[in-house]
Amino acid sequence: GAGVSQSPSNKVTEKGKDVELRCDPISGHTALYWYRQSLGQGLEFLIYFQGNSAPDKSGLPSDRFSAERTGGSVSTLTIQRTQQEDSAVYLCASSSGTGLYGYTFGSGTRLTVV
């Protein structure tokens, strides 16, 4: 597509439930990134996929968080046993891999854990 698409745009879930967030990057972009943004805060790096290389998972806050990227395109971020502190906007971005011109971000998924 023309931009990075994320779904759902909003998600309300009960504490303890699992959630899946989806990111559809720009076609042809080899690099895909997940960030988390808490209210009024900056962007916190979570995970980075580049082509067929092993992902950089150094930003995942706990083992409840995982992500996969199938076929080098769509990515899913999964949060198991959600906690209230997981409430945030989860942003996905993609780039051509060279890093030039930065990333293109999606509009994010606003996750609220109640």
């Binding site: 900056g42 962007l43 980075y48 942003l91 891999g97 890093g99 030039l100 509009s107």
Partner: protein, 115 residues
Amino acid sequence: GESVGLHLPTLSVQEGDNSIINCAYSNSASDYFIWYKQESGKGPQFIIDIRSNMDKRQGQRVTVLLNKTVKHLSLQIAATQPGDSAVYFCAENMAPNNQGGKLIFGQGTELSVKP
């Protein structure tokens, strides 16, 4: 750990004035810097970037200045307009030759433009 931080969390300017948003970074190995604009309810939008071998780069109404000696980055917006009201983030990329790699973001500065 390494971080990118901003001097001012909020900035209020009069329409038509110039705005300057500052950013300090701590990683001297960073090779590539980007400014993003984020409007409410939207993802960050690329504004302008600069590589470490440059000290100034100009775009349409925006200029980025890089001072590697003091590890300082600034974004200048000329003739600020109400549509410029947003949160502005600086970010750095430490990947060699800008080959992908994660961006480290600062906390953001909220720019408010008064009509």
